[in-house]
Amino acid sequence: GLRRCLISMDMHHIEQSFQGIKRAVQAKDTFQNVTILSKSETLQSIKPLDVCCVTKNLLTFYMDRVFKDHQEPNPQILRKISSIANSFLYMQKTLQQCQEQRRCHCRQEAINVTTVIHDNYDQLEVRSAAVKSLGELDVFLAWIDKNHQETSA
C-alpha cells in the first residue's frame, strides 16, 4: 500500500519552546471546565489512516486561527510562539507534498474531529479560545509525537 505520510521532524525543539511558555499561557486560561482539544472524544480516538488529515487540519487550525487570534504582549512568549509557528509551517509543507502524492486522504471521521475542535473554539470568546488552544499545544504535540513515528501503527 502507499507509504504512510509521517512528519520526520525533531519535535524536541518545538516541545522546548512550548515548555518555556506553558506556565504563563496556561495561567491565563481561566476556564478550567472547558477544553478545545478534549482528550477522549477527539484526538485519542483517531485511527492511523486519519492521522495525516487530522494533523494537516489541526496545523491549519493553529496557523489560521489560534496564532492569528492570540494577542501576546510579552516579547519572550511571542518569540517562542513564532518559533512554534515556523515549525508548523514546515510541517504543513511536508503534508502538502503528501497530499499531492495522494497520501493524505481526508475521511469523514477526520473531518468530524476537526469540526468538533472548531466548534469548541467557537463557543468561547475569541481571545479566551486562542489562549486555551495555545495552552493545549502540549496535547497536540504529544499526539504528533505518538502518531508520527515509524513504529506507530
Binding site: 519535535m11 516541545e15 515548555q19 495561567a27 478550567q32 478534549s38 502540549d138 504529544a142 509525537d145
Partner: protein, 201 residues
C-alpha cells in the same frame, strides 16, 4: 502513575497546630472534587495517584491551611499532565558476563497499580518510543561510554578480560524533558581469559 501533591507549611506558624485540606480538578470537567483521605490532615503531602490515574487527562490540585479559627486562601498548582510530566523509573537490569563481553537484559518499569491484584502495565505499552540510556564504566581504564537502545537486550563486546565494569541504565521518552532516575549502579567482572594464561606459563 504515582502522583503525589506536596507543599510547604505556611511561614510563621511553627507554633500553631495547622491542618490541610486538598481538592483536585479534572481539566474540562465541571467542579473541584474532594480528596477525603486528605481532609484536615497534618502531613504536607497527599497521594492523588488514584484520582489522576487516567494519564491522558490533565489535572489541577489545590490545598488550604487551617489553624485555630483561621483559614488560608487556596494554593493551586499549574495544569498537570501525567502523560508528559510523569518521571519514568529505571528498568530492571540483569548482567551476565563472559570473557570479553557482558550481556544486559532490561525489563521496563511498571505503571503504578491502583490495586496490587491489577495486572501489570509496562511503561512501553504507554510510551511506544521508550528508550534506554546504558552507561558503562571501565574501572581499570577509567573510561565511561553510553549507548541509547530501544530493545531489551544488549551485548557489550570487545571488553577487557578479568576487568570490573559498572553499569547503570536510565529509561527515557523522547519529548519534553523529564528528570531521569537512573538504576542502581551494578558492577561485574569479565571472566579471565584462560587461553592467554596458558601461554604465559
Amino acid at each position: 502513575m504515582k502522583n503525589v501533591l506536596q507543599w510547604n507549611p505556611p511561614e510563621g506558624l511553627q507554633e500553631a497546630e495547622v491542618t490541610y485540606t486538598v481538592q483536585y480538578f479534572i481539566y474540562g470537567q465541571k467542579k473541584w472534587l474532594n480528596k477525603s483521605e486528605c481532609r484536615n490532615i497534618k502531613r504536607t503531602y497527599c497521594d492523588l495517584s488514584a484520582e489522576t490515574s487516567d494519564y491522558e487527562h490533565q489535572y489541577y490540585a489545590k490545598v488550604k491551611a487551617v489553624w485555630g479559627t483561621n483559614c488560608s486562601k487556596w494554593a493551586e498548582t499549574g495544569r498537570f499532565y501525567p502523560f508528559l510530566e510523569t518521571r519514568i523509573g529505571p528498568p530492571e537490569v540483569v548482567l551476565t558476563t563472559d570473557v570479553k563481553s557482558i550481556s544486559i537484559v532490561l525489563t521496563a518499569p511498571e505503571k503504578w497499580r491502583r490495586n496490587p491484584e491489577d495486572s501489570p502495565v509496562f511503561i512501553q505499552q504507554i510510551y511506544s518510543n521508550l528508550k534506554y540510556n546504558v552507561t558503562v564504566y571501565n574501572t581499570k581504564s577509567n573510561r565511561t561510554w553510553s549507548q541509547c537502545v530501544t530493545n531489551h537486550t544488549l551485548v557489550l563486546t570487545w571488553l577487557e578480560p578479568n576487568t570490573l565494569y559498572c553499569v547503570h541504565v536510565e529509561s527515557f521518552v523522547p519529548g519534553p524533558s523529564r528528570r531521569a532516575q537512573p538504576s542502581e549502579k551494578q558492577c561485574v567482572r569479565t571472566l579471565k581469559d584462560q587461553a592467554s594464561e596458558f601461554k604465559v606459563k
